[in-house]
């Protein structure tokens, strides 16, 4: 969206191809944001407003790219409507790939019981639950948990069952989610099991400290060994490595900050335009060109690697700059 907007503002045409019925990607599923607790909906509405008003932007929702052929200076892109199966073609001079990310399937972590115990869910699923609770009209929701445990690095920084890389944003969004639970249900016990919380950004460290010191979320340094069911609740067994003692907490929900992975479609899409992907499926950049993956092919956001909203906006603008420079050269 950001790239399309900047390209249009610079005087060129942008066609936004989105396979979902609405613009916004994962941002639509989020209830709040770090580090300022802002409503992501407002950001989306603002941008969508500008995009719809612009006469140089065409928005094609529920549309997918089926194939592409490189031409002299651009691509002939074949599109298909997911609404009515109609197909058409588009001649474009450059492409920006922004297919975003998804979360790893964490059922491989049988020890955490995802898919086995009902109270265990991923962070994205939990975000949906937070939205529901926030929209509830009751004083305290009927299904308010007495205890919530959030586990960091599920599938990240793990060379055996998961991915070796760090998914970058989970320490921050976990602090956000933990803080939100305390805001909704002040008497609920909230625990975050972390390895080392990574808060490198403007106001990030202060944000996490606020969640710990003012909202009273208990941070325990240790990767949990297992989640066990007992008496209708869930026991999280871990080690508090700073104290050097084993700990066990009884909660009702266990939230897994699952590793960020590219969507499977990204690799296919990249292939259609001659863009390269790495061994995980993230789009690879060219030497000295952080947002360009191939000639006339740019990318931005989660499809390149895990990134927070501001970073994605910056990359979108950077990709737009690349396109604009290219078009100026073409003239």
């Amino acid at each position: 969206m950001e790239a399309a907007l900047r390209i249009a503002q610079a005087g060129f045409h942008a066609v936004l191809v989105e396979k979902e019925p609405e613009l916004g990607g994962t941002l639509r599923d989020l209830h709040s944001s770090f580090p300022r607790w802002e409503n992501p909906r407002e950001l989306i509405d603002h941008r969508v407003g500008l995009l719809t008003k612009s006469r140089r932007v065409t928005i094609r929702t529920q549309t997918a790219v089926t194939s592409s052929a490189r031409q002299k200076k651009g691509f002939r892109v074949s599109l298909k409507s997911l609404r009515n199966e109609n197909e058409d073609e588009l001649d474009v001079d450059a492409v920006v790939l922004t297919t975003g990310f998804e979360l790893m399937d964490v059922s491989v972590y049988g020890e955490y019981g995802y898919g086995i115990y009902p109270g265990v869910m991923t962070s994205l699923e939990f975000e949906g639950q937070l939205k529901k609770w926030a929209q509830s009209t009751r004083e305290i929701a009927a299904d308010a948990p007495r205890g919530v445990a959030l586990i960091q690095c599920v599938g990240s920084r793990d060379r055996s069952k998961g991915n070796p890389y760090c998914s970058k944003i989970c320490c921050m969004y976990t602090a956000k989610q933990a803080g939100l639970v305390k805001d909704l249900f002040p008497d609920t016990r909230v625990y975050v099991f972390y390895m080392d919380y990574r808060a490198s950004g403007k106001e990030y460290e202060e944000f996490v400290r606020q969640v710990i010191e003012e909202k009273h979320v208990r941070y325990i340094r240790g990767r949990p060994a297992k989640v066990l069911p007992e008496d209708g609740r869930l026991l999280v067994r871990a080690e508090d490595t700073l104290m050097g003692i084993p700990v066990e907490v009884a909660v009702d929900m266990v939230i897994l900050a699952s590793a960020i992975v590219p969507r499977p479609g990204t690799r296919l899409l990249a292939g259609m335009f001659g863009a390269r992907t790495d061994e995980y499926g993230f789009i690879e950049s060219e030497l000295h060109e952080p947002v360009r993956s191939a000639d006339r092919v740019f990318f931005a956001g989660g499809c390149g690697f895990a990134i927070e909203t501001t970073g994605a906006l910056n990359q979108g603008a950077s990709a737009a700059a690349g396109v604009i420079a290219l078009f100026n050269e073409d003239r």
């Binding site: 491989v108 972590y109 049988g110 020890e111 055996s160 066990l228």
Partner: protein, 310 residues
């Protein structure tokens, strides 16, 4: 992430061998000879011949864990033992998680570090042995799962109403790659228990290590080991478990032999018999209890056998 973690049994055993080498276990064959017999009887029922070699020694894994000697010693011992199997041109089948874990890991080290393989072979060559890394290491629990349908067909004495708490132990699942189930939440033993007609019980501490390697067998630190075992066994008792199954004689020793001591320490009345999964299978397939060596068990099998009408 890149290697395949869980394999299904048909991938592991595309064909069922007619003859296997049965790797004896120091703890299994000596402390619970009934286990070795149960394995032999079950293999025979399934049409598999088991060959052994009296020249085989203990895998030495447990001594290695206790740092009784340098790792190089265990590498040479492994090479010597496996060379006996290779002389018969067979694959190695263990019935002890410990043997399985150590043979797998030590042979892996030699296969990926030529210097170690050379050192081991140089040493054992003095007595005429030579190890090439051709024999594959399996555990009989894998074969039981592979042939579970055949086992089901051969059940003559369904263990109906028997509440069985399974204990997987650590060293098979710890291998993580190329094994039959997820180490985080395994269920394949419970499947076998159901096929035998018994009722599997998912007790809270089902996946807790028995603690044998950590110090029960060799160093026997009571203050470490007993609270740990107490936690596991009371969790089984509280869930109504009548019998615990193991696939490792080490686990069997830890869970079985310690119960009277727990009774003394905690005043608890823990009387849950612990037998090998192979013994349970053999019982269901009609092997008489006399052939299964239950006399070796500290916690007697009387109540369970009575319940089964034996």
């Amino acid at each position: 992430m890149s290697r395949q973690r869980v394999v299904n049994p048909e991938e592991k055993f595309p064909t069922v061998p007619g003859t296997v080498f049965l790797f004896r276990s120091c703890t299994g064959s000596l402390e619970y000879p009934g286990t070795e017999n149960a394995v032999k009887e079950t293999l025979a029922s399934l049409g598999i011949q088991a060959l052994m070699d009296p020249d085989q020694t203990c895998c030495s894994g447990y001594l290695l864990t206790c740092s009784a000697h340098k790792p190089e010693v265990s590498l040479a011992i492994t090479a010597r033992n496996l060379s006996l199997v290779e002389k018969k041109d067979l694959d190695t089948y263990t019935f002890c998680n410990g043997c399985y874990g150590y043979l797998s890991e030590l042979s892996h080290i030699m296969m990926h570090n030529p210097a170690y393989l050379q050192m081991a072979n140089d040493l054992i060559a003095r007595w005429g042995y030579r190890y090439e890394g051709k024999t594959r290491i399996y555990h009989v629990q894998e074969m039981w799962y592979r042939l579970r349908e055949t086992i089901g067909e051969k059940v003559v004495r369904p263990l109906s109403g028997l509440k069985v708490g399974v204990h997987y132990g650590c060293h098979y699942l710890a291998k993580q790659y190329g094994i039959l189930d997820d180490g985080g939440y395994p269920t394949f033993h419970e499947e076998i228990v159901e096929i035998l007609g018994a009722t599997p019980v998912f007790y809270k501490e089902r996946q807790l290590c028995c603690g044998y390697a950590v110090g029960r067998g060799f160093t026997h630190r009571e203050e470490t080991v007993q609270p740990h075992l107490f936690k596991k066994l009371t969790s089984a008792r509280d869930a109504g478990v009548e019998l615990i199954t193991t696939v490792c004689p080490g686990c069997n020793v830890a869970l079985d032999r310690e119960q009277p001591h727990l009774g003394k320490r905690y005043g608890a009345d823990l009387k849950i018999p612990v037998i090998d999964l192979s013994q349970l299978i053999a019982l269901a397939m009609g092997v008489p209890p006399q052939k299964l060596g239950f006399e070796a068990n500290t916690i007697p099998l009387d109540v369970v056998l009575k319940k089964l009408g034996l």
